[in-house]
Symmetry: C2
Subunit: 204 residues, 2 copies
DNA sequence: AAACTTACTGAACAGTGTTTAGTAAACCAA
DNA sequence: TTGGTTTACTAAACACTGTTCAGTAAGTTT
């Protein structure tokens, strides 16, 4: 049945149209400041139409999140290519921080925003997030196999490294480093030094 | 003039009444879910009254934030009492993480929420936050003076350690460790191990 | 051509932060 | 004590939010 196929295609296209408009606006204005009405205006449909494709605003966020994680994973695959596990770990860490600093609003909705993860459902949308984590985990597997790191447990290593880089990005994104009364360049340099130091310290 | 004094007192009392109700509700329900109308209902005043004491919801948040930082600083002073700088640093770090895990909504509004810090004003409310940071800085001063840490720069040390503990708490509070598919106890244990490992690694 | 299905929307509901005009009580000067 | 002024407060409105639902018009099938 050609018609049913076409309708299926059109439905997916429409969903994509909504998602891409939403993503653009989340990145430009932030999640909270982007309303369903704003998105509807942008794509020239009624707000109610969006609810024919997404259950609620969170559902839309899940989809954008999936897209964002895919983008991060692509960045990893592009930038973390070294064959040396330690060098690769460094590339991952730096790519992560750079991603966070360059796309603060995207980072926000991936790692800081409250909304998702509350419901156990929506595992598909979360799959790309798992892909990113797995990328780190695989690298750490290689590192620990060769006893290159001072961590005993692979999971503790992952949790530690992730926390370190997330802490750097999150505190910066939320302007908490302001308490240090440094210029923006100084903070950026301190962040770079911090990650450099950290990577040295975890080496065996 | 006794009457003017009393009025002044009453004004401060009223402001305190609002702030304490707000803080209780922020902690119980979270900042976003607590509306000005809810707070007004709780203290049995009209919503408009709150605006006679606070410019807007952010202004109220600043005040609550100040209170929360005071609470954290008290915790530091209680729990980080060792004369050994390294031991004291450990006590600070653990107190911080424990505070974050025990009061997630308070932690949220201190270190994760977007609202404040945007305006340069409001330095008074931010003073307690500086107090907390200074507490860490003083400890690090002692550490680096005796060359006990592997950091060269005091500020980089502060930024690193803070990022580490914030990362642990923030990712946990926002349920991002769910990607690791561990039970809650396992995560908690991994966090403890991570901080233990980190403190060992930064030692000279 | 009639019946059915689909895609969409206008309007409403209940909530939000915030402002303003108005009121009633408290206070002060005569 | 009276009259005027200041203070403390509020009801109601404004402009927004996410979300739902009845209704419509076009597309599809019989």
């Amino acid at each position: 049945m050609g018609i049913a196929d076409r309708k299926e295609r059109e439905k997916l296209e429409m969903k994509r149209l909504i998602m891409e408009a939403a993503m653009r606006m989340f990145v430009e204005e932030g999640y909270e400041k982007t309303s369903i009405r704003n998105i509807a205006d942008k794509i020239e449909y009624s707000p109610a139409t969006i609810y024919l494709y997404y259950k609620d605003k969170d559902d839309l966020l899940y989809d954008v999140q999936g897209q964002a994680f895919e983008q991060l994973l692509r960045t990893f695959r592009e930038k973390a290519v070294s064959k040396s596990p330690l060098k690769k770990l460094e590339q991952i860490s730096k790519a992560y921080v750079q991603f966070g600093l360059e796309h603060p609003d995207l980072y926000d909705l991936m790692f800081i925003i409250r909304a998702p993860m509350n419901k156990v459902e929506k595992e598909e949308a979360w799959l790309n997030g798992e892909g990113c984590f797995q990328f780190l985990l695989d690298c750490l597997e290689d590192c620990t196999a060769q006893k290159l790191l001072r961590f005993r447990d692979k999971m503790v290593a992952a949790l530690s490294i992730w926390s370190m880089v997330h802490g750097l990005v999150a505190l910066n994104v939320r302007c908490r480093f302001k308490v240090m009364k440094m210029e923006e360049d100084g903070v950026r340099h301190a962040i770079d030094t911090a990650i450099e130091d950290y990577l040295k310290m975890i080496k065996n």
